[in-house]
Amino acid sequence: MNPHRRSLFILVATVLVYTFLYAPIVGLILYSFNSSRTNVTFEGFIPSFSGRVVMEGSLVKSSPCGPFHWYCDLAKNADVLEAAGNTLTIAFIATIVSTIIGTMAALALQRYEFKIKPFTQLSLYIPIVIPEIVMGIGILTLFSQFFGWFNGLLGLTGDARLSMGIVTVTISHIAFMVPFVTLVVQARLQGFDKAYEEAAMDLGANEWITFRRVTFPMILPGVLSGALLAFTLSLDDFVITFFTNGPGSTTLPIYVYGLLRRIITPQVNALSTVWILIVFLVVLLLQWLQSREAKPQH
C-alpha cells in the first residue's frame, strides 16, 4: 500500500467511526431544539420568545423559553423530576456502598493469601461477563422467592408486604457494581509498595491509622476512578433496573423507554441531552483523575 492510499484509508476509517459514534448524538441534540412536536423531521429551531406557548398545528411557533422550549417543558414534568431523583438517589447510595465493599475486597485480595482466593478473583469477572439480562432475571427470581417466603412467614398483606422498589434496585446495582470497583482499585494497588505501610507502622502507626493516613490517601485516585465508573454504570443501567424496579422507583432509562412506547416528543431528546452532558462531565473527571494517576511517581 503506498502512503497516499494508506492516508486515504485512515481518512475513510476515521470519518466512518466518527459518523457512527457521534452523528446519532449530534442528531439527538439537534432534535431537542426541534419546533416540530411529532419530531419526525427537523422543522427548524423554535423561532421566538413569547409570554406563552403558541402552536400552529404540530409546530411550536414561539415559547417563553424560545429554542429551549422542550427543556422548560421537561423541567415542568413531575414524572421526569421524580425519575431523575430516583436515578440519582440510587446511583449515589449504590456508588458509596459498592465503593466501600469493592475497595475492601481489592485490599483483601492484594494482601492476604487464602484458599478460595483464585475462586474469589474469578467470581469477580462473572457479573461482568454474563449477559446483564441473565443477571437481571436471576436477581428478580431471588427477590420474588425471598419476598414470597418472607411475606408468607410473617403473614404480611397489602402495603406491609415487602415488594420490589427503590431498595431492590439499589441492592442490585450494588451487586453488579462491586466487581467493577474491585478491578479498578486492584489495578491501582498493583503498583503499591507494601513498604509504605510498613514504614507507617515502623513509625508508630497502628493498622487503622496506617490505612487512614497512608494507604487510603495513596490509593484514593484509584478508589475515585472506581467510584465514578460505578456511578456512570448505575446512572444508565436499564436491564437490571427493569427487572428489579417497582412502583415509585422508575429511573430515567426506564422512564425514557416508557415514553418511546407512546409518543416521542423532543422532550425525550432534551432529557437525553441533559443526561449526556452529566455523564460527559463525569467521564471528563474520570479521565483527569486517571491522567493524574498515570504520572510518574518519582
Partner: protein, 369 residues
C-alpha cells in the same frame, strides 16, 4: 541498659516457595548485637539478611526461636510497639506528604506537642543537611536527598536501634561513598546501634564495627572487619570477602599455631596457620592465600617457596595482577606498583621464572566443608 541492643536466639524463618516447598530463609541464627555498635549483615541476595532485619523490625515473626530488643522478648509485638526504626531500601517516603510531614509523622504518632514536633523535625532535617527543603514533596528531591529524608524520618524518633536495609543501594558510586562516611560519622555522634544490611563487602568493611557474613540463611562468620578479612573461618568467607587462592591438601602435622599441609598438586608441604575451628591431623583441607599476600622474588631459599612461571600480567593502575603457574596450579598474585615507571609490566614477562613465597602467617588452613 542491657548489654545487647538486639539478640536473635536460634531464630528460624520458614517460607513456602511458590512450588510448595519449605525453605529456611533464616536457618538457626544466633546474633548478639551490642549497644552502640555499627553491625552489618553481609551476604548476597537470598542469604536471609533482609529477613533477619525484618524480624527485628517486626514485619515478620520467627517460625522458631526468639528476638530480644534491649533484653525484652519481642514475640508477636507489632512494629509500632518496638523501639526500633527502619530506613527502607526504597525509602518508602509518603508521596502525598511534604518532607516536613514525612519527618513529623512518627512524632505525631507519639502524640508529641506541635511545638515539640516542629523543634525536633527541624533539628533532624538540619542533621541530614536538608534545612529549607521541608515544604518539598519527595518526588521533587534527588535520590540522595530522599535517602536523607528517610534517615531523618527514622532518626527523629530517637530509636534504640536503627535498622538500615541497603539504604545506599540506589545511589551512584560517588554519592554512596560520601554517604558511607556520613552515616558512620552520624552513628558515632549519636551513639545509636545501627544494624546495616548490605551485599556490598567494601561498604560493610568500611563502616562496620562487626560484620555477620551470611549465606543460605546461616551466619558463616561473625567478627570485626579485620577478623573477617584476615582470618576467614571457612572457604565461603574467604571467597566472598576479597579474593583468595585455594589449594587442596591433607594435614600432615598440626599444632595450635601451625599446620603443615601436603599439597598433591605441588607435591610439597606448605606450612600455614590453622584458621577453622576443630581441625584434626590427617584431615583433607583447603589452604587459602590472598593474592596480595604472595611475594614474588627472583630467588629465595625461605620456607614455603615454590618456583613458578609468569602466565599473564594485567596492569590496573595501583596494582599489577599476575597469574603464575606452578605446574598445573594457577595462582593469582597482586603486586603493588610502588615505583613509578612507564613500562610497569616490564618487570615480569610472560614465561619468566619466579619464586613465590607463601608466608606461613598469610597461609590459612581451612576446613573443607
Amino acid at each position: 541498659m542491657n548489654e545487647f541492643a538486639v539478640e536473635l536466639r536460634d531464630v528460624v524463618k520458614k517460607f513456602i516457595t511458590p512450588e510448595g516447598n519449605e525453605l529456611n530463609a533464616v536457618d538457626h541464627v544466633d546474633m548478639q548485637i551490642r549497644n552502640g555498635e555499627f553491625f552489618s549483615m553481609l551476604g548476597s541476595s537470598g542469604c536471609g539478611k533482609t529477613t533477619s532485619l525484618r524480624m527485628i523490625a517486626g514485619f515478620e515473626w520467627p517460625t522458631e526461636g526468639e528476638v530480644y530488643i534491649e533484653g525484652k522478648l519481642m514475640g508477636h509485638t507489632p512494629p509500632f510497639q518496638r523501639k526500633v526504626n527502619t530506613v527502607f531500601q526504597s525509602y518508602a517516603l509518603f508521596q502525598h506528604m511534604s518532607v516536613y510531614q514525612n519527618v513529623a509523622f512518627g512524632l505525631e504518632m507519639e502524640g508529641a506537642h506541635r511545638d515539640e514536633i516542629k523543634k525536633r523535625v527541624m533539628r533532624a532535617l538540619e542533621m541530614v543537611q536538608l534545612t529549607g527543603m521541608e515544604n518539598r514533596r519527595p518526588k521533587q528531591l534527588s535520590g540522595g536527598q530522599q535517602q536523607r529524608v528517610a534517615l531523618a524520618r527514622a532518626l527523629v524518633k530517637t530509636p534504640d536501634v536503627l535498622l538500615l536495609d541497603e539504604p545506599l543501594g540506589a545511589l551512584d558510586l560517588k554519592l554512596r561513598k560520601e554517604m558511607q562516611l556520613e552515616l558512620k560519622a552520624l552513628q558515632q555522634q549519636l551513639g545509636i546501634t545501627f544494624i546495616y544490611v548490605t551485599h556490598d563487602q567494601e561498604e560493610a568493611l568500611t563502616m562496620s564495627d562487626r560484620i555477620a557474613v551470611m549465606s543460605r540463611g546461616k551466619v558463616m562468620q561473625m567478627g570485626t572487619p579485620v577478623e573477617i578479612y584476615e582470618r576467614p573461618r571457612n572457604r565461603f568467607v574467604a571467597e566472598f570477602i576479597g579474593e583468595s587462592n585455594f589449594l587442596e591438601g591433607q594435614i600432615k602435622s598440626l599444632s595450635a599455631n601451625e599446620a603443615s599441609v601436603f599439597i598433591p598438586a605441588l607435591n610439597a608441604e606448605v606450612t600455614g596457620t590453622p584458621a577453622s575451628e576443630g581441625l584434626v591431623n590427617g584431615e583433607q583441607v583447603f589452604v587459602s592465600i590472598r593474592p596480595e599476600k604472595i611475594h614474588l622474588t627472583e630467588h629465595s631459599e625461605r620456607l614455603n617457596t615454590f618456583e613458578g612461571e609468569i602466565a599473564s600480567t594485567v596492569y590496573i593502575g595501583s596494582n599489577t595482577h599476575v597469574v603464575v603457574h606452578i605446574g598445573d596450579v594457577r595462582l593469582k598474585v597482586w603486586e603493588q606498583n610502588r615505583i613509578s615507571r612507564l613500562e610497569p609490566s616490564s618487570f615480569y614477562t610472560n614465561g619468566q621464572k619466579v619464586d613465590l613465597m607463601l608466608m606461613p602467617e598469610n597461609t590459612l588452613v581451612l576446613k573443607k566443608d
